[in-house]
């Protein structure tokens, strides 16, 4: 799963498979991090009535 785990090999199979996987995971991670941070920012800067 990781380059340091026992089964890892720097071969095409691992790179394609885990390339795809980590790519997807990082998009999800980045997307969620963005949303959460932005939500926190929005909450901080909320005037309190913009949405109510």
């Amino acid at each position: 799963m990781f380059p340091f785990s026992f089964e890892w090999a720097w071969d095409i199979g691992h790179m394609v498979f885990f390339g795809g996987f980590w790519y997807a995971v990082s998009i999800l991670g980045a997307g969620m991090t963005f949303c959460i941070l932005k939500a926190a920012y929005d909450t901080m800067n909320d005037s309190g009535d913009s949405h109510h």
């Binding site: 340091f4 785990s5 026992f6 909450t43 901080m44 909320d46 309190g48 109510h52």
Partner: protein, 223 residues
């Protein structure tokens, strides 16, 4: 989550909303939250790192102390006691018979430990129930011959400088797995500095990869 409760309690959702917004601006409250966060974080992290291993491992004292340094001095080398059998298998911890090659019912030295050895084991003809620090689980096959005879490795690479020790450290057993702590390594994060700090599969594989170019197939190390 707590906000929801709060609002429900208050009944009036509108006012509760305002109240919450007001709280957000309360720097003191936030500061306290942060302090609590940090305290809890540090507390839990430290207990996970320091206290947890104490709980996870039980300490067991060896039947009596054994002075490796002294014995190596007398016998010459590791192989004198930790020997191979004729079929190439490894004896591991010596049996009482091996000890009796030198020892007898008369103590050779003057230590209390030897007195215990003679009285409780030699005279009773009982094997010493040593705890083995480097005992691998049942699923592991390990050929000492392949490593020391053919590959020419020394004992220290895996076992460290136990041969130079004068006393035996307590044996620490993982309460869940029953493994010796030396397999995972002293460091709870699994970080190692020396080749003998850890005896997990990855450590075998690392060396195999380096020395043979291949980590090996299942049965090479498993049975």
């Amino acid at each position: 989550m707590s906000e929801i409760e709060n609002k429900t309690e208050n009944g009036s959702t509108e006012s509760a909303g305002e109240c919450t917004t007001g709280d957000t601006k309360d720097d003191k409250g936030l500061g306290l939250g942060v302090i609590f966060f940090i305290v809890a974080f540090v507390g839990c992290f430290l207990s996970g790192t320091l206290l947890f291993p104490k709980l996870l491992y039980s300490k067991k004292e060896q039947p009596f102390n054994f002075d490796h340094a002294l014995h190596v001095g007398e016998a010459g080398d590791c192989e004198s006691c930790h020997s191979f059998r004729e079929d190439g298998s490894f004896t591991g911890i010596p049996k009482l018979d091996t000890c009796l090659d030198c020892h007898s019912e008369e103590a050779l030295g003057e230590t209390d430990d030897e007195a215990v050895f003679v009285e409780e084991y030699v005279l009773e003809e009982k094997e010493v129930p040593w705890y083995v620090y480097s005992r691998q689980p049942d699923c592991v096959f390990f050929s000492h011959a392949a490593h020391t005879q053919t590959a020419g490795m020394d004992c220290v690479t895996c076992h460290g400088h136990i041969g130079e020790s004068t006393s035996l450290k307590p044996y620490e057993e993982n309460r869940i797995t029953g493994y010796s702590r030396d397999i995972w390594g002293k460091n709870i994060f699994g970080i190692k500095k020396h080749s003998w700090d850890r005896m997990k599969m990855d450590d075998c594989a690392e060396c195999h990869k380096k020395e043979t170019g291949h980590k090996g197939y299942c049965f090479q190390c498993h049975k």
